[in-house]
């Protein structure tokens, strides 16, 4: 691992909001084409960690490397963000824009692609994820699952090196979760490097190359999914998984 250049590397990342320390020294390496799932209770720091990687939050200390290059205090945060896609729990589509405009905004205004190029690429992506007929709809006319798939397509349209998914199915009705997860599975199969914060344990188990258990702002334990889910080394991990099983989520 130390020889190859990692797609993403975090060293001792710390972040506080006021007096609350949310991340207390996170170390994490993500290889190219690797899918890493972050699991852990609400408030364990999963979302904050993803937002820090995307530079939406400034970290207090530690270092972040993207493809070997330090981005911790990148002078041009926009340049970093165009390489790292993020999808949010609440979709955050732009309600005043059609689906097509949502997807083409980044390519046109950030990557300076022509309208026709951006639109044909967007249409191809929408088509790939079964959304071609929704291209002229506005977000409020779509189901939650469709909105979240559009949000994923919007991030993909920037052709990111790395995708961050922040509990992307948590705001969805149960029957809509599957369609979003299948999109993510397809991305994993296509070799997209991803860091996924999720409460969908069975999804994490089958899709992740590695699972990290976050507890109180630290990665307490990490390893292949089978190991974490069947033989967790830490008592806290076991406790968490027991609660998840009790809730019927595994």
């Amino acid at each position: 691992m130390s020889e190859e250049v990692l797609a993403l590397r975090l060293e001792g990342v710390r972040k506080s909001f006021g007096s609350v320390e949310v991340l207390r020294g996170v170390d994490l390496g993500v290889g190219e084409h690797e899918v890493v799932c972050l699991i852990g209770a609400s408030g364990s720091g999963k979302s904050t960690l993803l937002r820090c990687i995307n530079l939406l939050e400034h970290i207090d200390s530690g270092r972040i490397f993207l493809d070997g290059e330090e981005i911790t205090h990148a002078r041009d945060a926009n340049a970093v963000r165009r390489r790292v896609g993020i999808v949010f729990q609440a979709f955050n589509l732009f309600p005043h824009m059609s689906v097509l405009r949502n997807v083409t905004l980044g390519p046109r205004e950030v990557l300076h692609k022509s309208r026709s190029e951006a639109e044909s690429e967007a249409t191809a992506l929408l088509d790939r994820f079964g959304l071609a007929d929704k291209r002229n709809e506005y977000p409020d006319r779509l189901s939650g699952g469709q909105q979240q798939r559009v949000a994923i397509v919007r991030a993909l349209a920037m052709r990111p090196e790395l995708m961050l998914l922040d509990e992307v199915t948590s705001a969805l009705d149960p029957e809509l979760v599957a369609e979003v997860l299948s999109v993510i599975r397809e991305l994993a199969e296509a070799g997209m490097t991803m860091v996924i914060a999720t409460h969908e344990m069975s999804f994490a188990r089958e899709t992740a190359d590695r699972v990290c258990f976050l507890d109180a702002g630290r990665i307490l334990e990490q390893g292949p999914p089978d190991e974490i889910f069947t033989r967790p080394a830490e008592a806290r991990t076991r406790q968490f998984l027991d609660r998840v099983i009790a809730a019927g989520r595994l």
Binding site: R51, N54, L56, N78, A79, R81, R82, G85, I86, F88, A90, N92, L93, F94, P95, H96, L105, G106, E109, V110, P139, D140, R154, A155, M158
Partner: protein, 250 residues
């Protein structure tokens, strides 16, 4: 019904013939109408020019006020000082100060026309109000919208332009139109420094005939102009309410 009763009571009361003669002289109405209506075109010109300038200037002030970070503090301070100042001074006073004061300075390259200074005064005062309306709109756009735009790599300026401001403006159209109704009426204040608009013209007619009918002509013209705008405002508010109850929060 109530209005009908009031009208009947007023019209049948003992003093009505005198009132009718002083305020609703049919012949005088017809005689003074063309001149006042012609002068009213100047009111329309005043507020059309002012409205266009206010929309732009106020947005600039609102954006200045929302700039983040300690470096930009002077700009925020400037915006706050501006709105405090021009919302604090009575409109009529600003018109007098600029309308009589500015030409008295005899600055070269600056127009001396009272019309120019009258419009300038209205723009300065109303921009302070409209900037606050814009600011409320900008602050009502959820921060997750900004996060979504920035995560695509959009700069702060492009985020404002494509994502925040379009949503903000849509939300504040009703209060914006409300301020414009006020502006249309206040176009009459410009008369006090010279230009002969509808109110000034009716004053002239009243002074010549000792009859108040020309004032009623002017009042009628203003009402005819503001009612459509008021109804449009009502309609927009009702539409927004329908949309919200139909589609839930967006």
């Amino acid at each position: 019904m109530f209005i009908a009763i009031v009208v009947i009571v007023v019209v049948t009361s003992a003093g009505w013939p005198e009132v009718q003669k002083a305020f609703f002289d049919k012949q005088l109405f017809v005689d003074s109408f063309p001149e006042i209506a012609h002068a009213f075109l100047l009111n329309i010109r005043i507020f059309l020019i002012a409205e266009a300038l206010i929309l732009v200037l106020a947005l600039g002030i609102a954006i200045l006020r929302g700039l983040p970070g300690p470096v930009l503090f002077p700009f925020r301070l400037l915006a706050v000082a501006y709105t405090d100042l021009f919302r604090g001074i009575p409109t009529i006073l600003v018109i007098y100060i600029l309308g009589f004061g500015a030409p008295a300075l005899q600055l070269s390259g600056v127009p001396n026309s009272p019309l120019f200074w009258g419009i300038t005064a209205l723009v300065l005062v109303y921009s302070a109000y409209v900037a606050e309306v814009y600011r409320a709109g900008i602050e009502s756009v959820h921060p997750s919208q900004e996060a979504a735009a920035r995560s695509l790599g959009l700069s702060r300026a492009k985020t404002l332009r494509f994502v925040i401001v379009p949503q903000a403006v849509r939300r504040v159209i009703p209060p914006l139109l409300n301020d414009f109704i006020g502006l249309q009426k206040d176009s009459a204040l410009v008369a006090l420094i010279g230009p002969i608009e509808a109110f000034r013209q009716s004053q002239i007619d009243v002074a010549a005939t000792f009859n108040y009918t020309p004032y009623m002509v002017t009042a009628l013209l203003f009402v005819l102009l503001t009612i459509p705008l008021a109804r449009l405002t009502d309609w927009l508010i009702a539409r927004d309410r329908r949309r919200q109850s139909a589609g839930g929060p967006r």
